[in-house]
């Protein structure tokens, strides 16, 4: 016949009745015998009964097949409701009370209760026989059962009905697209008390488990009781209570059950846990869920990623919106993945939804993931819910005792932990002066530090230059324009690229310098990392050049000594780069650079730095740098040095880079500007960086050469440290002064800019807003 949509309750009820009538287990019910009695018990006029039989096709077939029987039952319900009998009414009538059959009700109910409780399974099987109700969305059932559902007959006994019913299960052909639903009534028909969860939906599984036990009982009882029941029922007016129950709990088989089996309250509850006590998960259910979880994620402690869960739940054919809501409810820690608990909660909600239960607004307590792996065992009231440790499926087995309160208590803890896991710990970023910070950012962005893990400085100059060019150029421009004193403007404008390079390099230096300061460099660093403000790696230059430049360096910091030998510095630097020993050269240059630094106008220091840094940097950037260096070199190194960065650091850096470049060009193997950068950032930092760089890269001869210098510096640590400290302090003051001057220049420039903008605004008529 046409597709018959049965609610869960209905299905159970019908299946029970069918079983009841199917005395011979032939899956066919003769027109006579029980069926007739049953229909008579429905207290319908004979004509109606005949009409029903005709409609359902039994007269055609001569017997009641399962589907016919179901249809007939449905029609009985329709008739009993006073609605006209129509074929369409089978499916169209919603909220149809279960067909009431006179006296037999009591017994049937009692029997059915169990079977109903085993709703799930029965339905599954039934669905196979009957044109599968659409996605088992039994609206009626859900709504009603909710209210009235008293704990459905607990699984065990009630389940007994299921075995009886199982015969029909033969072909769960039910196109339940959801294979899981497949309750395989597998064949076992009778005995299949839906053993264990199997591929059944948990609710069904529950029923099954229950039924198994009950099976025997039931089967044993069914034959006799029916008869007796019939008789007795006929006599006794449909137990008013039962009847009363019926109307009230129409689709709510559970209610019937509850009425019928007070003793089985627990069972009922278990059964209906998915419905009545809506959100409790029974053992069978939980076991089923766990098995399903395993199919997706073998590790029960692990997570199911969102995509896998999506596919899985999409099979349930629920609308995406509802699935989305279910997900929101069940993904407790909002991590986009489901733990075992979350998965069980989601599964449970899906099952409930398919059975017609409305989704709650917030996750019910019983479904909240808990630390304790509790199972909502037969406890009626206990909402063990889904407590479950995702990792202990073994414990899943009935341990329902746990009290909700305990669960609740654990829950907050779990919550916190889960929340904690979702917390992303902020990565501390050294907030050095903006320049350095920005440079760091740029460095990081440019993915610098190819070779040197600890020093993000290793950014290819070309890349850096390109990226930073603009930024640096911007800064430089402002600085340049302002720093008249520093002939940087000229150089800057003329060598934007160089500047960019230098800037990038410097940035990388600055970026790394903080980093370098953090991790202890391999060789003991005598000097603490320089503070950011010092773009010049005075420390490095000082310490490195323990012997040589220190003296010179010392001289510089105290005052802004005239540039010792601006020309010399570059020259020396140039020479230095030639040296394989980057460090040494670096140090040699650094002292020179340092003295020069105080003279911001004199960027020869930078050149020196650049050269030295270049020398020292043994990185692969050497290749890159050579080009850059050459460019810079060709251009006026000093001019590039003069790039007047608003920050003294910048200047230093450029200077450093320039020299580095110079050095590089001269020595292809010279370490890339990394060391230069370091220096720029802070003497201390740079120095260690340089050392580190040299050590790490070890690719170039310079690196190798530089390495020896490290031990040297180490050897003189104490003295060098003190000296470098002094030097650094002096340099700091100098640089600070420079910084303030540049800042002032910057302010002036900004003021100009503002005034220009105001004029522009006046001229342009309210372009925006």
């Amino acid at each position: 016949m046409e597709g018959l949509t049965l609610s869960d309750a209905e299905q159970k009820y019908y299946s029970d009745l069918f079983s009841y009538c199917d005395i011979e287990s032939t899956k066919k019910v003769a027109s006579n015998g029980r069926v007739v009695e049953l229909f008579r018990a429905a207290q319908l006029p004979n004509e109606v009964v005949l009409q029903i039989m005709e409609l359902c096709g039994a007269t055609r077939l001569g017997y009641f097949g399962r589907s016919q029987f179901y249809i007939a039952l449905k029609l009985v319900a329709v008739a009993q409701s006073g609605l006209p009998l129509r074929v369409e009414s089978i499916n169209t009538v919603k909220d149809l009370p279960l067909p009431r059959f006179g006296a037999s009700k009591n017994e049937q109910e009692s029997r059915h209760t169990t079977s109903y409780s085993s709703d799930t399974e029965n339905q599954g099987s039934y669905s196979g026989v009957i044109p599968p109700p659409p996605g088992r969305v039994q609206v009626k059932k859900g709504s009603v059962s909710h209210d009235t559902v008293q704990p459905r007959p607990s699984t065990d006994q009630q389940e007994s009905t299921s075995p009886v019913v199982s015969p029909q299960q033969s072909p769960p052909t039910s196109p339940h697209s959801w294979r899981k639903h497949n309750r395989h009534p597998s064949g076992g028909n009778n005995e299949r008390p839906l053993p264990g969860p199997g591929p059944f939906w948990s609710p069904f599984s529950e029923a099954q488990t229950g039924s198994s036990a009950g099976d025997a009982m039931w089967s044993g009882h069914s034959p006799p009781p029916p008869q007796e029941n019939w008789v007795s029922f006929a006599d006794t007016p449909p137990t008013s209570t039962l009847l009363a129950m019926h109307p009230a709990s129409v689709q709510d088989q559970t209610t019937v059950r509850t009425v019928a089996s007070a003793t089985t309250a627990n069972e009922i509850r278990r059964q209906s846990s998915s419905y009545d006590d809506p959100w409790k998960i029974t053992d069978e259910q939980r076991q089923y869920y766990v098995n399903q979880f395993k199919t997706i994620q073998p590790d029960l402690n692990g997570f199911i990623p969102g995509s896998a869960a999506k596919e899985f739940f999409t099979k349930s054919k629920l609308p995406i919106l509802e699935l989305s809501h279910i997900w929101e409810l069940s993904d407790f820690d909002k991590d986009g993945a489901l733990t075992l608990d979350e998965f069980c909660a989601a599964f449970h909600l899906v099952v409930a939804r398919k059975n017609g239960y409305d989704l709650p607004e917030k996750l019910p307590e019983s479904l909240m993931p808990k630390l304790i792996d509790l199972e909502d065992s037969a406890d009626v009231g206990d909402q063990s819910g889904e407590v479950g440790y995702s990792g202990s499926p073994a414990e899943a087995p009935p341990s329902k005792s746990p009290s909700m309160p305990s669960l609740n208590q654990t829950w907050p803890e779990l919550n916190q932990s889960s929340e904690d896991t979702a917390i992303v710990h902020p990565v501390p970023i050294r907030m050095t002066p903006s320049k350095i910070h920005m440079q760091e950012m740029e460095l990081k962005r440019t993915g610098s530090d190819h070779t040197n893990p600890t020093s993000p400085l290793l950014v290819k100059p070309p890349d850096l230059s390109e990226e930073n060019k603009i930024n640096s150029s911007v800064k430089f421009v402002s600085g340049n324009t302002v720093a008249d004193g520093y002939s940087s403007s000229d150089s800057f404008t003329s060598d934007p690229e160089q500047i960019g390079n230098t800037v990038t390099r410097q940035r990388s230096h600055s970026g790394t310098s903080p980093d370098n300061t953090a991790p202890p460099p391999p060789p003991p660093r005598p000097h603490p990392s320089h503070s950011r403000s010092s773009s010049l790696d005075m420390n490095r230059t000082f310490t490195v050049t323990t012997g040589q430049q220190q003296a010179g360096v010392v001289a510089h910091p105290p005052a802004v000594p005239p540039r010792p030998q601006p020309s010399q510095a570059p020259g020396s630097h140039v020479h230095r780069p030639v040296d394989a020993e980057g460090l040494i050269t670096h140090t040699s240059t650094s002292p020179q650079q340092i003295p020069e630094q105080p003279n911001f106008a004199d960027f020869s220091q930078f050149e020196v730095f650049a050269a030295s840094s270049v020398n020292e940097e043994p990185d692969d950037e050497a290749e890159m740098h050579p080009e850059v260096l050459q460019v810079e070199k060709t251009s006026d190194p000093s001019s590039s040095l003069r790039v007047a960065k608003p920050d003294g650091r910048v200047e230093e850096k450029t200077a450093a880079s320039a020299p580095a470049n110079v050095g590089k060009s001269t020595t292809p193997l010279a370490p890339p500007p990394k060391p230069i950068r370091r220096r720029l950032k802070s003497e201390d930092e740079l120095r260690p960086e340089v050392d580190e760089h040299s050590q790490k890269t070890g690719v170039l001869a310079a690196v190798l050469a530089s390495q020896p210098s490290i031990p040297r510096s180490v050897g003189k640590d104490k003295k060098a440290i003190q000296a470098s400290i002094r030097r650094n302090k002096e340099t700091n003051t100098v640089l600070a002064r420079l910084n303030s001057e540049l800042q002032q220049q910057l302010k002036d420039v900004l003021e100009e800019r503002i005034s220009l903008e105001v004029q522009l605004e006046q001229l342009r008529p309210f372009s925006h807003l």
Binding site: G306, S324, W327, D331, G336, E361, R445, N471, H768
Partner: protein, 139 residues
């Protein structure tokens, strides 16, 4: 009290918009739409600076006599626009910021839902609840 909260996608179409007094819904739609220009302007103004440093909270976009419009843009160019009643002077900038933070968190949760396709309208109940709470109490 926020009177209107809207979530605008990167392509400037609304993913979620809700206003409290129903009759002014259209007016708020229009307001939010016009405020998008201001958002873009602010974003581009900061564009020169490093993206990393760009702040998500844009602040007051557009004050009118009746209400004020605040903006917030995420790194994926999803914009949150909030229209607040001007008469509510108790709302401080910090509160607005915290409201945006909550919005952002809720939006992230919506994104985490595998059943949500980015670009769809937001139908999440949890998100709705959060927005409702914000609109009612304004915090």
């Amino acid at each position: 009290m926020a009177v209107c909260i809207a979530v605008i996608a990167k392509e400037n179409y609304p993913l979620y918009i809700r206003s409290i007094p129903a009759e002014h819904e259209l007016k708020f739609h229009y307001t939010v739409h016009t405020s998008l220009d201001v958002v873009d302007e602010k974003v581009s103004a900061m564009g020169k600076a490093l993206v990393d440093q760009r702040e998500l909270y844009l602040g007051l976009l557009y004050p009118t006599e009746d209400y004020k419009v605040y903006g917030y843009v995420t790194n994926s160019k999803v914009k949150f626009v909030m229209v607040v009643d001007s008469s509510n002077t108790a709302l401080r900038d910090n509160e607005i910021r915290s409201m945006f933070r909550k919005l952002h968190n809720s939006y992230t949760d919506v994104m985490c839902n595998p059943f949500y396709n980015p670009g769809d309208r937001i139908h999440s109940r949890a998100f709705d609840n959060m927005v409702t709470s914000m609109m009612v109490q304004g915090c």
